[in-house]
């Protein structure tokens, strides 16, 4: 390979424990809980909030007017994907974008960059505040698209939803309605925190009120792609293992054959989610806890319905501020990681491991769809550091993850106590020459 380029800029924090590491397998633990003191073990072994499978039923959407009576007071029926008319109680479904626009097919024939209309570039001069003339009474109604997509006319009670795609990026192509109700989210957050009370910050425990959880629609780009990845490096196979020396000086040595290895894989990905808010996409765990929200991915994006602002009534939303071009480097990083994961299986014979040295990606085609995904979000700002700790519940599957601030002195005391106990055993062993 020639014409080498330097790798793309690395994120600011990539050390141990950062989300740039491949996350541990669900349910795995580096320490066997059975070896830990009773109170810690009890916390670890308490059950986690259960994520449910939402291989969903038909979802729907519709117009902002009730198809039966024409009223505009339309709400999302929580726990379902239905919209319900507040006037005549008529309920109806919308169209899934997967079938409506053919997003679920043709991955293998993707070429170039296909961008759905809601994922187009954000106009530089686009305003967050948008004014509409009420069709009922003619009054001017303003909607702040930074955090809301519906408003009610203060004169005639007509409800507005921003349904047409506007240049400020606030209107996505699709929305995935909440399935998990608030009570369920509160219970899951409480269960999650109850497993982490022993060393939690005292102020956090005192102020813990999960009822304050907020339902938020967060902006994502859902990407399909067709890609080729090449990797090259060195691998070693052990040929001999032997010891030299005797008694105290006995040491183990290895002989190995060194191979130059190359791998190529062509693959397609379906519905890879990328945060399209620059703030949410920053996963620097030394400065924020956005990795918590990242962890509750993925969503059943196959069930997303065509955009209808009525799904957002009474809920908050965050606006997208990244365009497709700005997300391309992150997409390539993700595709390279997927490629490396795909070739891993073919490297099993290299029992001493492989050192990948060069990699190459060729993105043949991508398809981008802008989508709002539902998240229940509980936040706590830690006094002093100002760090905002999130506990997030996936609004579809109920998968729960969180960051609970720790009482440092308690944690250090526990660690030193256990360390002292272990050191006592060590001294006894050394002292008795065992």
């Amino acid at each position: 390979m020639s014409n080498t380029n330097s790798p793309p800029p690395v994120p600011p924090y990539t050390g141990p424990g950062s989300p740039q590491e491949v996350p541990p397998a669900p349910g795995s633990s580096p320490i066997d809980p059975a070896t830990l003191p009773g109170p810690i073990r009890e916390e670890l072994e308490a059950p986690d909030p259960v994520a449910i499978d939402t291989s969903a039923a038909e979802l729907k959407d519709g117009l902002n007017r009730c198809p039966k009576c024409g009223a505009t007071d339309i709400r999302h029926k929580h726990g379902t994907d239905l919209l319900v008319c507040q006037y005549c109680r008529h309920e109806w479904h919308g169209e899934r974008v997967e079938e409506e626009f053919g997003f679920g097919e043709g991955h293998d024939s993707l070429e170039g960059t296909v961008i759905a209309s809601g994922a187009r570039d954000i106009a530089a001069d686009a305003a967050h505040l948008m004014s509409f003339k009420c069709t009922g009474c003619g009054a001017e109604v303003t909607v702040n698209t930074e955090n809301a997509m519906t408003a009610r006319c203060h004169w005639c009670r007509h409800v507005f939803g921003i349904n047409e795609q506007v240049a400020n990026g606030a209107v996505p192509d699709a929305v995935l309605p909440f399935h998990i109700k608030k009570d369920d989210a509160v219970a899951r957050i409480r269960q999650f925190v109850d497993k982490r009370r022993l060393f939690a910050l005292k102020e956090f425990k005192e102020q813990f009120t999960p009822e304050n959880v907020l339902g938020v629609y967060l902006p994502y780009m859902i990407v399909d792609g067709k890609t080729s990845v090449d990797v090259a490096g060195k691998g070693e196979i052990k040929t001999r293992e032997y010891t030299r020396g005797s008694g105290k000086n006995q040491k183990t040595y290895y002989d190995a054959d060194v191979y130059s290895v190359k791998r190529h894989v062509d693959f397609t990905v379906d519905d890879l989610p990328l945060e399209s808010s620059s703030e949410r996409g920053n996963l620097d765990t030394s400065k924020n806890t956005n990795n918590i929200i990242n962890t509750i991915l993925p969503f059943d994006t196959k069930n997303a319905v065509k955009w209808n602002a009525s799904y957002l009534a009474g809920l908050n939303s965050e606006k997208r501020d990244l365009d497709v071009e700005e997300l391309h480097p992150r997409l390539e990083e993700a595709l390279l990681s997927i490629g490396r994961c795909q070739v891993e299986e073919s490297m099993k014979r290299y029992d001493r491991g492989v050192r990948w040295e060069r990699e190459r990606i060729d993105v043949h085609g991508t398809r981008w769809v802008s989508m709002y995904l539902p998240v229940w979000l509980y936040s706590y700002q830690q006094p002093g550091s100002g760090m905002v700790h999130y506990i997030a519940v996936n609004g579809r599957t109920g998968e729960t993850m969180g960051s609970v601030p720790v009482q440092q002195w308690k944690l250090l005391l526990a660690a030193i106590t256990v360390g002292t106990f272990l050191e006592g055993i060590a001294l006894w062993i050394v002292g008795n020459g065992l």
Binding site: G17, R263, I296, G419
Partner: protein, 86 residues
């Protein structure tokens, strides 16, 4: 008991304390968690192709793994190349 093994045993206390601290810190703060998109994204891959060519030997080493082993570290980026004339 050799000096090496005595030293190793005496490190048990500090290592245990550090290990427990990091384990509990991560359990509460979950700083090591993120979306495992490598395994959780729907991927349809064609069969992997490639080549394996013996280029030398590494004899008499005391290391159990190849230097710089990153076969499982999918997110660790290495030198990016632009053409495929390799």
């Amino acid at each position: 008991m050799s000096d090496d093994s005595s030293l190793a045993i005496l490190l048990l206390g500090p290592a245990g304390a550090t290990g427990l601290y990091w384990f509990l810190y991560r359990y509460y703060r979950n700083t090591d968690k993120s979306h495992g998109f490598e395994r959780e994204t729907a991927v349809v891959a064609k069969p992997v192709t490639g080549s394996d060519e013996k280029v030398g030997e590494n004899n008499g080493t005391r290391e159990t793994r190849i230097d710089g082993d990153n076969v499982h570290d999918y997110r660790e980026r290495v030198q990016r190349v632009e053409d495929d004339s390799s």
